[in-house]
């Protein structure tokens, strides 16, 4: 059902009635689409409060807070979360640093090889994850480099760089070069200008990229699966648990991650709205 299908041509005098129907058909459709998008999230959250009878957390048996109270009762879960956070912290910081430098070069300088640089940034994002994971494993296998913590971090930095570049670049494009020139005219050298003018202006973009990289790292399964060796991140723990029936504690952690991410996103949106309003007020 597309928009066009809802608006088959009818005589123009009935346009008012039609417009009314059309507006509401579209709204109803949008509501249904949102239900579809949010239903699995609701199910995932609800089943964190389920008290399953056997080891399968598939059918609703009754409400309990025990899973939340004893989130740590499943062997290996806590370690996997700690590992995920460590990997995400290191890889997001390194990827954000490397990606921000690339974004600065791409937006602020004209140089030979810009096109191919953009292409190289775009390629990892348009390669299936399984190929990225497999090729890294081929590298480590052939160099006889044991897979484990280091290789997970290496792979996460790799796939995060492109996303950081895109995020920071989006912020830099609307950036007013005149502000930097003004600082230089007032006697600031390049480094001072960068520190006092450029950095504060692009800081929200860098922060957004850092969040995104952290989130992508925590969520990654495929690439990690190929390069984890005997290590177990949280998604790998869920995968292993799913084979024998995932405990409700998995949903507890999933819900916690969801709430944290949602809070961070909402705060970000509110901050940006306020910033935009302030800038408008100042202009």
């Amino acid at each position: 059902m597309s928009v066009a299908a809802q608006t088959a041509p009818l005589p123009r005098r009935r346009a008012g009635v039609l417009a009314f129907l059309r507006a509401h058909a579209l709204t109803a459709y949008a509501i249904l689409a949102f239900v579809y998008l949010l239903l699995p999230i609701a199910v995932a959250i609800a089943f964190s409060f389920n008290s399953p009878k056997g080891r399968f957390n598939y059918t609703w048996q009754g409400f309990t807070l025990d899973n939340w109270r004893h989130w740590d009762a499943v062997a290996g879960l806590r370690d996997s979360i700690v590992l995920s956070i460590q990997v995400a912290a290191i890889s997001s910081v390194v990827a954000t640093a490397l990606g921000t430098l690339i974004a600065l070069a791409l937006v602020r300088y004209r140089f030979g090889g810009r096109g191919s640089t953009n292409f190289l940034i775009f390629l990892p994002m348009s390669t299936p994850e399984i190929v990225l994971g497999a090729s890294l494993l081929a590298l480590f296998l052939n160099l006889q480099f044991a897979t484990g913590f280091t290789t997970i971090v290496i792979s996460h930095i790799m796939f995060n760089i492109s996303y950081v570049v895109v995020t920071v670049k989006a912020r830099l494009v609307g950036f007013d070069r005149h502000l930097e020139e003004a600082a230089m005219d007032l006697g600031a050298n390049e480094w001072t200008t960068f520190r006092k003018v450029t950095l504060p202006l692009i800081a929200p973009g860098i922060l957004a990229a850092l969040f995104l990289a952290f989130a992508l790292s925590v969520d990654d399964f495929v690439i990690t699966y190929f390069n984890a060796g005997s290590e177990t991140t949280f998604p790998l723990f869920v995968w292993g648990a799913a084979r024998v029936g995932a405990p409700p504690q998995v949903n507890v952690i999933g819900t916690a991650i969801f709430v944290l991410a949602l809070t961070a996103m909402t705060a970000n949106i509110l901050l940006q709205t306020r910033r935009a309003r302030q800038l408008k007020g100042a202009a």
Binding site: S2, T27, P40, I157, I257, M265
Partner: protein, 285 residues
Amino acid sequence: MAWFHRHKGLTPYLLLAPGLAWLAAFFVVPLGFLAYQSLQSGTFDFGFSFTWELYNYWDAISRYRDHLVRSFVYAGLATVIALVVSYPLAYWIAFRGGRWKNFFLLLIIAPFFVTYLIRTLAWQTILADEGTVVGVLRDLHILEPDGRLLATSTAVVAGITYNFLPFMALPLYVALEQIDPRLIEAAQDLYASRAKAFLRVTLPLSLPGVFAGTLLTFIPAAGDFINAQLLGTPNQHMIGNVIQSKFLELIDYPEAAALSFVLMAFILVGVFAYSRALGSERLTG
């Protein structure tokens, strides 16, 4: 002076160097090693050696033709369904969202905040044999009394569609949001019906979003193996499942590497053909 200019020109390269070096070492070089691996022969016990074993590719294509076809059929179906679901939704947010646009966008990406595997497991629960959805469909005689959703192609396609839908909806929204509503009004002032204004103005202007969205959905969908694993049976397994098990369970590295390249090649050819088709359509239409 000449030295100064050359020195100044170095700055962008210095900024690029660390990040691009990382991508070269851990993205480009590994692809080379994957190619190297794909041309090896041998077994895990006796070791692999490089022998220009092009036969791996022939073997990969002929033995796993069904998996390849299934991957592209499932990914294609998921992409089309995601487009049909997302387009009106993105349209509604772009033109009717008003002050709440950002909030609605947040709802679209909300699934990404739940770990991929957990939201796929949630679909397992929703589509389960004892679940409400199956019950209702059985009562309505849409499903046979012993009909199932879980462990069918329907479940796998539904899972893939759901998991990659935001990749479709976001670029569509960006493209639709950029359209100046006055253009549509102008078309209607010139006696275009609403349908015609949509077909001649809105739709063509949103094509870049359709293009980006379909690629962003199709490419990861074609390489996916999680949905087939968790929502399907071996009868629904895709090429990703084969690559994964050959690399990590069967330890048949050369064939797994060859299959990865076959997957990449098919995707590249598909993307190229698709961009040619859409590009020419945009010129003539």
